[in-house]
Symmetry: C2
Subunit: 374 residues, 2 copies
């Protein structure tokens, strides 16, 4: 998806920097990134959004971090100190929120031993968190917490048991008679079913909104959307992507399993589908193929619907389309206008100061959730 449709966005997304900021004075209030491994001090971030890296490799010839000056187009070149420890600071502040990165050591690609890993770009990458002004909405707060349930559901069409994660809201176990609406929420290209919880903090976003009374509790189901193997060695890439295998898994296997094993509401008005980037493309394709399944559609940095796409779709309750301001926000703004003129309940959202990255999608979920299941 990124490769085919988001090339320019992808580069912005990878760069994750606000330019030009190279001339700003760097404030020395660096703290460990919240995505660090337990007890690790580096990488650090400061109040301006600069990131500082520190990696020990005494005999290395070169250590380059893929973040800071445009991802694969440069990154941050670390320099070796007297103790053989390589250190460096980004040339400018990074965008707020989560960024993937890796470290190139003597020509080999590795992860930063200081950070936790997150599945993106079809590999487990290092992650760093730049504190955001609005970070409280996805923070771990002292409120009742829902669960994230790992399920292994039978998938005859792919000949295995497949994994999904199901967010159940606080009170799910206590209210044995209550049934809940369900949002089916997809990750992007190169990510997997762990992304929305690990990188997106979808469960904490829900816990916080429910605690504040901003939404009625609902469930979220997250599974792997790249059933045709487009990973390294998987022989493919997006150009060979076929939606059919995933559409079968989702509609014929996952949804029936979730409805049979959780207390869900199963009518169209209590089912939503949304996805980020490639997951938006999947949402659009599957929602158009299957008019009777979902009444709420969400495309997060994942394209738009036109009035022609939705012609005669009187059952559509909401079309939510979002974008980072550093992507091409006019796309979702224009699509909202056209859909409204055609009589649809369309809402667009633009995340200020963010690109094709998870801060855009955390904020998009936060804006979309109150509009679902009305």
């Amino acid at each position: 998806m990124k490769k085919l449709f988001f090339t320019s966005l992808l580069l912005v997304g990878l760069s994750g920097t606000m330019c030009p900021a190279q001339t700003a004075a760097v404030i020395e209030d660096f703290k460990p990134s919240t995505k660090n491994q337990p007890g690790r001090d580096y990488p650090m971030v400061n109040s301006q959004g600069y990131a500082r890296f520190r990696i020990a490799a005494p005999e290395a010839q070169s250590v380059v971090v893929s973040l800071g000056l445009g991802g694969q187009r440069g990154g941050t070149v670390l320099e070796k100190d007297a103790e053989g420890v390589w250190t460096g600071t980004t040339a400018g502040p990074m965008d707020e929120g989560f960024h993937y990165y890796h470290v190139t050591i003597d020509g080999g690609v590795f992860n930063d031993p200081g950070t936790l890993n997150y599945y993106g770009s079809t590999r487990w990458e290092s992650g760093i968190e730049i504190p955001a002004r609005d970070q409280d909405f996805y923070a771990l707060r002292n409120v009742p917490h829902g669960n994230v349930v790992q399920i292994l559901f039978p998938s005859p069409s792919t000949g295995t048991s497949r994994r999904a994660f199901v967010y159940t809201p606080p009170g799910y176990d206590a209210n044995q008679s209550k049934r809940y609406p369900v949002l089916y929420l997809q990750h992007g290209w190169g990510e997997d079913e762990t992304a929305w919880s690990n990188q997106g903090h979808a469960n904490l976003i829900m816990d916080n909104m429910i605690a504040e009374g901003k939404i009625q509790p609902f469930m979220i189901v997250m599974t792997y959307g790249m059933t045709n193997d487009i990973r390294p060695g998987g022989g493919g890439g997006m150009r060979n992507f076929q939606i059919d295998p995933f559409e079968t898994v989702l509609l014929k296997e996952l949804i029936p399993y979730v409805d049979a094993n959780f207390r869900t509401l199963t009518d169209i008005n209590n089912r939503a589908m949304a996805g980020l980037s490639m997951g938006g493309m999947e949402t659009k394709t599957i929602s158009l193929h299957n008019p009777g399944v979902f009444a709420y559609y969400g495309l997060l940095s994942g394209g738009t619907y036109s009035p022609e796409d939705l012609q005669g779709r009187s059952q559509v309750k909401l079309v939510f389309m979002s974008s980072g301001s550093k992507e091409r926000p006019e796309g979702v703004i224009n699509a909202e206008k056209a859909l409204k003129e055609a009589g649809f309940n369309a809402v667009s959202y633009v995340s200020e100061g963010t690109a094709h990255e998870f801060q855009t999608w955390r904020r998009s979920l936060y804006r979309m959730a109150p509009l679902l299941f009305k």
Copy 2:
């Protein structure tokens, strides 16, 4: 725990090799390790248990894998080929099962980009799986699967929400009136609440035993047992370990939360506690401090109980003690004998051909589970 009590075992554990095997002919039937990242071919393992590593780092001076000749005492030194790719094969077959390892590149410690990471030694380490003759008991099979539920429970004593994982057996959601016994199962030093599911496959072991009718369904609760921070930067180490903070979290916070939010049986005869290595030490200490909470005790490579320890404990239904044959198995064998003579229902188990590693503990859970909640 390892540091204080298992130094010799630890070295055996880290080495993970059966010696002398250096002279055996290596059979060229290498396949990707089942713990590899999606689509990655290396590391590979062969039918004899040899491991082969392949890591790209064209300008590196030295690449050494910590596995193969005694962990930190040597490991496997990789050699660079014409394309700048470093490759090497262990000098001998590895023990069956899961091993942690890391890669030292030009003096810096990193993970193998080919594998998934597992939390051990207080860091996310690379993992490799050597196929075991008995691997079917922890394989992902086409049977009904239980769930692994991530909960975030309030912990006033530590001032935060803490994470635990709760295994619920197949049928838990369907049988809304049924209540289940609970095993509280602890990880070892340097590991965390993810270990028993990720490295141990505890959920798959349970799914398979339940499908075969070998056990009655019960729940397993896994949480972090090192509440006093003994991690790098945490200022501590085992010599400063205090059980009290964890005992408070477990008994005053976690168990009440689980009993309030899951359909558990809450009497002593439906509660067990077990742990591996340091988790065994925690199990012994907490079970002796709190006679009325658990009726089933399990120490997996985690020490022994003496008849004096259990004097007057008529409510103890089972004492299970296990060890790898490459640890000091006589300890658990002698303890079983002494406890039986004192009239206790004691069972020892020795895992053949394994050391202080997860294959010992997977097998121990498999042997212990049918003896619980009788």
